[in-house]
Amino acid sequence: MALGEKSFFAPFSILANLFRRPATICYPKHDLNVHGKPGPSLIYRGMHANDLAACLGCGNCSRVCPTAAITMTPDPEAPADPAKTDQRPVIDYGRCCFCAFCVDSCPSKSLQMSRRYIYTQPSLKEDPLEAVTWKRETFTLRPDHRNSEDPGWVQTDHTSWLDLKRQGMTQAEPEQRVSGFLEIVHGFSREAALREAARCIECGICTATCPAHMAIPEYIRAIYDDRLDESVRIMYETNPLPAVCGRVCTHKCETVCALSHRGEAVAIRWLKRYALDHLPQDERVKAAVGLKTGTAAPKKVAVIGSGPAGLAAAYYLAGMGHAVTVLERMPKAGGTMRYGIPAYRLPDEVLDAEIAAIEAMGVTFRMGVSVGPDVSFNDLKASHDAVIVGIGLFDGRTTRMTGWEAPGVYRAIELLRRHRVGEEIPVDKKIVVVGGGNVAMDIARTLARLQKLRHGKVDLLVTCLESRHEMPADEEEIEEAQEEGIVMEPSWAPQAVEFDGEGRISGLSVCRCDRVFDESGRFDPRLSPQITSCYAGTQIVEAIGQSANWSFLTPEQQTALGIARGRAPALATGLPGVFVAGDILHGPDIIHAVADGHEAARAVDALLADR
């Protein structure tokens, strides 16, 4: 660069630029095609589009939005779906900064941006300024499908802000775990738990689904903030058995988790377990007892059964200030949790710690007391202001197939109970288990361990009516059982117990089951009797369901209670002051039982407050 004499015509060289192609939009004569398609970039961050049917209504866009431009409002046309809310985003374009963070953090990928960026004026051609009312509503709209035909910035797996992969959980190896009853799952480390807690987008769809409506996002948030005491306190507000549920809950919350649509659900259950495992017992008791409110008019309440429903009811009633006595016929409290669920899933010491916290709330336990033989139901009713029945389903059902009464054919729930009491239960070298639910898995895996300990090898087969994908047991239970050497033979209907010439059990004959449920989902099995098979085994265990034992009630009382098909219809019964809760009401499920227990406690309190 230097200054020198220039030609007189030099300035005119600029005229060459008159013939250059325009680089910017020259509206409306020239339609730029810079990006291979007329208009802006193919990933342009323009106006939003939202697939309202796919949108979960989780509100993550609204929480992430740096300019607070997005609000969630109810959409009357949102489909009814337990995995979704009826809320859909509304965007104030007066605030939106078009950063697309909302798009990148949308769990359903329903929210995206388009290549359109004209909204504030109805038309550029006609009356650009007239007929526009400059109000907030002018810029606020609910994005829908309208812009989706011209997509701009959309979320890809690379741009996603979500952490779709769950933190790995360390478990004992199959070989190691089948040789004993030590707990399989090791639990999260602090580091893994914090990372897992960060995955939660705090939408609360899980809370709506959880039978006990646990404040899941809130306790996960407390875990993320490293405030375990606060986290456990929040849990106790709705569930006095958090450590149990942190291990064996059926986790309906995880099934609806917003992240599960595209990735893995947040490990809600393991996070709960982490909080309890890492909080010292005295602090847990402090958190549990800290919720005590008391009442002006304390009353006496008896709770029959110390399973999850009974314990929950007792804990909350004691918290309200009532004098609660729990009667349990077994030597220790816990019900199915102690005498049904194997120790490798739920160790005794976890349950003991749980019950200690409930006891600290002021609940009195009377162990080894059987209502009926030891104390009559009528006496109990007379000496207490209210009675809650939470006896659970403690009797095993049978298929009533030919030969079911023979020695060597057992009910799973009874074997499990005998094993958990400490009895030596019969374990043959070759066993057939009938049933496809969690109890079938529990007994099969328990017997497999005992086989390994006594005979050195696992030889156990599980057969059930349901096809493999219909089996009601948790998927991980089935997979783990298979890893431990248990053989699954689904879609077979048990027909008869087979005997050898000397009258000993030799196996189980079965026939093909084509379907279990009819079109409307009712139980209506269709069999093909011509397709048969026979499984060899000298011990047969039936795990096809449980029933309640109502023998402590007179037939009149049973009628008054309204017990039909082993289940009662509602919490408050036809007997004044008598409430039922738990498995007898909703079938086998701990978290349902806890929810029942809590509700029963509230119902009892409301009833007694009126007296």
Binding site: L3, K6, T24, I43, R45, N60, F101, G152, A198, R199
Partner: protein, 383 residues
């Protein structure tokens, strides 16, 4: 008639009560001013006697706002600190956060950062050179340079989905990889820009008016520049070889050769020439970057970005922007939002300090050219 240094006829007249001085507000009303900043100039005739910087209409509260937004969400706000050259802000902030996190950005992510930083530099330098031309009355040159800048913005639009506020960086790397054919389009753009430069040289740098207006205007020495905190091209124009890309390399620069050209002289012309040298060097750096683009992911896995927590502590990170050092000092208390973010903008030393030295005695016509020669962008003075 004898007049002491810096003592004009009008001043003499004023002392005699025969002429009045007046305050002139040189603010957003003037096309040579950028942002809602202003200088209140006390004038005698067309000559400045005193200057009072007035940021009254500028303050946008960036730093305070950042304390109320999640770590990653702040990136949507940060490019607004400097509109013509936004990317250095994003990178400096993200690097400071990454320092606290102890997080390593994947090599391709660092490369993408360097490429976008250089593109942003080119775009900003066009605005600087064009702005200088505009301030000197050469509006055609300015418009032509804006065309080239628009072509750069096209590449940004294809890469990030936005032309000006790219919001391309996040803690851990950049948000997305380049679309297919993007590197080639950048490469062909560089060819075009290089081919255009002789014309701009002719229009701007081989122009008597430009030389006459800028030569000797507002000179500073190297010592003065360093004492007042001037960085970037204005510092290099005094002959000091200083460039953060070389002195404290970040992103892809540790692996890429960067030379530091210096013009020397220290006056407004030297600064204008320095910008032109920086431009040429930036083109060369970009070519080197494009010649070997590493494969791999473009960002590190930090989990759910919306709930990112940053360990307690403080970190400072600096980036060489087209105007000088952009630095972000970030303090974390271990939470999900910054405890404090402080921005060090390159415009402050000249915009607030040197104006007191340079503007008195200057004609009103030269103020815009003076601002452009120091690349003063007031929004980074008052964040």
């Amino acid at each position: 008639m004898y007049l002491p240094d810096g003592y004009t006829t009008l001043e003499k007249l004023r002392e005699a009560g025969e002429y009045a001085d007046y305050d002139l507000f040189f603010g957003p009303n003037h096309p040579g001013m950028h942002g809602n900043f202003g200088y209140v100039l006390t004038m005698i005739g067309t000559e400045i006697v005193r200057v009072r910087p007035n940021a009254g209409m500028l303050h946008r509260g960036f730093e305070k706002s950042m304390e109320n937004k999640a770590w990653a969400a702040n990136v949507s706000l940060i490019p607004r600190v400097c509109v013509p050259d936004p990317d250095p802000n994003e990178v400096a902030y993200c690097q400071a956060v990454e320092k606290l996190l102890g997080c390593e950005v994947p090599i391709r992510g660092r490369w993408m950062r360097s490429i976008t930083l250089e593109l942003s530099r080119l775009g900003s330098l066009y605005m600087g050179m064009g702005g200088l031309a505009g301030a000197l009355g050469h509006y055609s040159t300015m418009y032509l340079m804006m065309i080239e800048r628009d072509l750069i913005l096209d590449r940004f639009e294809a890469l990030t989905g936005a032309r000006v506020y790219h919001i391309y960086n996040v803690p851990g790397g950049v948000r997305n990889d380049a679309p297919e054919g993007w590197f080639d389009s950048v490469s062909s753009l560089l060819d075009h820009l290089e081919a255009q430069m002789p014309e701009y040289d002719r229009l701007l740098y081989e122009n008597h008016v430009v030389w006459d207006r800028l030569q000797g205007l507002a000179p500073i020495t190297a010592e003065e520049a360093m004492a007042s905190g001037v960085t970037g091209p204005a510092l290099r124009a005094t002959g000091v070889k200083a460039d953060i890309r070389v002195d404290a390399p970040y992103a892809a620069y540790p692996e890429i050769q960067v030379d530091i050209p210096t013009s020397g002289g220290g006056d407004a012309l030297a600064r204008a020439v320095q910008v032109r040298l920086d431009f040429a060097e930036s083109l060369r750096v970009l070519r080197r970057l494009l010649a070997r683009i590493p494969e791999g992911p473009v960002h590190a896995d930090l989990g759910n970005l919306a709930k990112l927590k940053v360990p307690a502590g403080d970190a400072y990170s600096k980036v060489e922007s087209s105007k000088g050092e952009f630095g972000y000092y970030v303090v974390s208390d271990g939470g999900e939002k910054p405890y404090r973010v402080s921005v060090r903008g390159p415009s402050l030393p000249a915009g607030l300090y040197l104006c007191h030295k340079h503007l008195p005695g200057m004609k009103i016509d030269d103020v815009a050219a003076w601002m452009m020669s120091f690349a003063i962008c007031p929004p980074d003075i008052d964040r």
